[in-house]
Symmetry: C2
Subunit: 336 residues, 2 copies
C-alpha cells in the first residue's frame, strides 16, 4: 500500500488540489493599511451594522465565504465541506457562519494557525477524493478578541512593544479537484512546541519555535532549500517573533531571511498601538486571500510556503501559570 | 475522476480504516455508573492529583491516548496525526495534551460532536493514504466546564430536569490502515441546524434536529433502513432530546426506537443532579471507547451508527440572545 507521505511529517499530492478562488473582508484599520486596496470589502466601522462585535465577526466571515463562492462561480450545493475556525470561545463566529449554509461543517481550532490547518485539511479531503470542492475560512475581530482575551475593549489598555494587534479580518478560499488557480503541492502539519514563554503579550516569541520546527521539517522532508521557494510567509510572528524564528532556523543551517515575510507585519503601518504587528486567525487569512492568492494566480511567484502559526493557550491556562504551547502548519503552494 | 462519495453527504471507504484500539479514562461519578467496570481507569477524585480541574482534564486525555497507544502496541513515532478537541475555551485540554507528544496535531471543535468529527477526519486521512496511524481523542470535565459555562462549581446550582451533566471523561482511539478491529465503513459530516431553541439548560432539544438530519441523510445516501444497523447511538441527546429526535425521524418515515440508545443516558444512574443524562465531549468518547469498541471487536454487533451531536453555542452567544446551532456527525462502523 503506497502512502502520500514524505519524510517524518509531510504529505504530498500527486494530483494537486486547486485554490480556485479567494476572498478577504476587513475592518477599517486593515483597510487603511498597506494592503488596503487588495481586499474585496473594507468596512468603515468594526460593528459592520451589527449589534455586537461577535455578530460582526460572524457576518464578516460569511461575506468572505459568499465572495469566494461567487468568484469561483459555484453554488452552495456544489460544496462538499466547509472548514472554519476562529478565536472566539467555542468558535462561535464559525458556527453561526456555518448555520447560514446547507454544507457539511467541520469546526477546527488552531488559533492563528487555523487558516493553514483548514487549507491543509481541505487539500486532504480533495486529494483523497472525498470532496470535489471545499471551502476553508477563518476570521478574527479585534474588539471581540480584546474583551475576551484581555481587558474591556473600551479601556484601551497600553501594550508593550512585543504585543500584537488582533486583526479585524476574514479570509476564505475555495479548493477544488480541478480548475485554474494556484495548487497545493504539499502539507506539513506541525507538532506542538513549548519553549517556556508564559507572557501573553509576547506571542511572537512563543510561536517562533513552532514556526522554525515546521519549516525545518518541511525542508528536510522535501529535500529542499529556501531557494526552492520565492516566499516563506509566516502568520503571524510579528517583528520580534520573526527575528527569533530566523535565528532558530539559521542555527539549523537554514537562512530564509531574504525570502521571509510575516503577514502580521505586512498588514499594518507601524504604530505603537499595533506593536510588533498584526495577529489573529483573520490576519494571515486576509493577507493570503487578498494578496498572495492573486500573486500566485498571476504567476508573480512560482512557489510559496504558507506557514500560519498559532498560540494554543487561553486566559485560564495563563492564569494558572502555564506556558504557551504553539503550533505551525506549512502549506506549499505553486502558481497556476 | 472517481470520488468516494454517495448521495449528498456521505463518504464511503473501499479500504476501511481500522479502529485498532480504544481507551477510556473517567472520574468518580462515571466510575460509579452502570458502565463503571468497562473503563480502563477510574479516578476517585475529579482533581486527579492535579492543582486545577483544567490540568486534570488534560491529564485524563493524555492518559486515554497513552492507553490507546499501549493497547495498539504502537510507539508515538508511528502515529502520523493526533486529532483532538474538548469543551474548554481554546481547547486547552487538547493543546496541553498534544504538547506532550512529538506527533503532528490537528485541533478540532465540535462540542459534544467532537469524537465523531475526529474519527471521521482520521478515517479520511487513512483512507486517503495520508497516514498509516491516527489517534482521535476527546475529553470533558464536569467541574472545569461548570465554572466556564455556568456558575462557580462550588455553588452547585440547581438544574431543571432538561439539564444535562457534563461528564468527567476522556476517550481515545487509534485508527490504522490495517490490523484487527472494528472498521469505519462510511462517514456523514453534518450540516449546522438551528430550530430556534435558546435555552442552554435544554441542549438535548436543541441538538435533536441536528441528529435527525444527519441520520436521515445517512440512511438516504446509503439507501439503508434502521434494520441495517444493530445500534444507532447518539451522544448526547439525553432522555428528552432522544424522544424529540425519534419523533423527528418518525415523521420522515424512519423508526429507530428499538435500536436507538444515547450515550448520555447510558453513562449514569438516573438522579435529579444528572437530569436528562450526561453530556460533554468525553461522554460519547468514553462510552464508545470503553463499551462499544469492545462489543464491536467481539462481534456482539455487526454494524453500528455512531452519531455524536454538538451544541455550537457559547455563553457569549447565549447572552446576546442567539439561539443554539447544532451539528451531528455519523460514523458507520462494522465489527471485526
Amino acid at each position: 500500500m503506497e502512502f502520500h507521505r514524505r519524510g517524518t511529517s509531510t504529505c504530498v499530492f500527486q494530483e494537486m488540489p486547486v485554490l480556485v478562488s479567494a476572498a478577504a473582508v476587513v475592518g477599517p484599520r486593515e483597510g487603511e493599511g498597506p494592503l488596503g486596496d487588495l481586499f474585496d470589502m473594507v468596512y468603515s466601522t468594526t460593528l459592520l451594522g451589527e449589534t455586537s462585535w461577535e455578530k460582526a465577526e460572524s457576518k464578516m466571515l460569511r461575506q468572505a465565504v459568499d465572495l469566494a463562492l461567487a468568484k469561483a462561480g459555484l453554488e452552495e450545493s456544489q460544496i462538499d465541506f466547509i472548514i472554519a475556525g476562529d478565536l472566539l470561545n467555542q468558535i462561535i463566529s464559525s458556527a453561526y457562519m456555518a448555520r447560514e449554509y446547507d454544507i457539511p461543517f467541520l469546526g477546527i481550532y488552531g488559533a492563528c494557525a487555523t487558516m493553514s490547518e483548514g487549507i491543509g485539511l481541505g487539500a486532504f479531503l480533495i486529494a483523497g477524493r472525498f470532496a470535489r470542492y471545499v471551502v476553508a475560512a477563518s476570521s478574527s475581530h479585534h474588539d471581540a478578541a480584546e474583551r475576551q482575551f484581555r481587558y474591556p475593549t473600551e479601556f484601551g489598555h497600553q501594550r508593550p512593544p512585543t504585543g500584537q494587534w488582533t486583526a479585524t479580518a476574514a479570509g476564505a478560499v475555495v479548493l477544488g479537484a480541478q480548475g485554474k488557480g494556484p495548487r497545493v503541492e504539499a502539507v506539513t502539519i506541525g507538532r506542538v512546541q513549548d519553549f517556556g514563554i508564559s507572557e501573553p503579550n509576547d506571542m511572537g516569541s512563543a510561536m517562533a519555535p513552532g514556526f522554525a520546527d515546521t519549516v525545518w521539517r518541511h525542508f528536510q522532508d522535501m529535500a529542499r532549500q529556501p531557494e526552492d521557494y520565492d516566499l516563506v510567509i509566516s502568520g503571524d510572528l510579528g517583528n520580534i517573533g520573526s527575528m527569533i524564528a530566523r535565528e532558530l532556523l539559521r542555527r539549523k543551517g537554514i537562512a530564509i531571511d531574504d525570502r521571509h515575510q510575516d503577514a502580521g507585519v505586512m498588514l499594518y503601518h507601524p504604530s505603537p498601538e499595533v506593536g510588533a504587528g498584526g495577529s489573529g486567525c483573520g490576519c494571515v487569512a486576509c493577507v493570503f486571500s487578498g494578496k498572495l492568492w492573486k500573486e500566485l494566480y498571476n504567476k508573480q511567484y512560482g512557489r510559496i510556503l504558507l506557514v500560519a502559526t498559532g498560540a494554543l493557550h487561553s486566559p485560564t491556562s495563563c492564569q494558572q501559570g502555564e506556558t504557551i504551547p504553539c503550533v505551525a502548519h506549512a502549506v506549499s503552494i505553486v502558481s497556476g
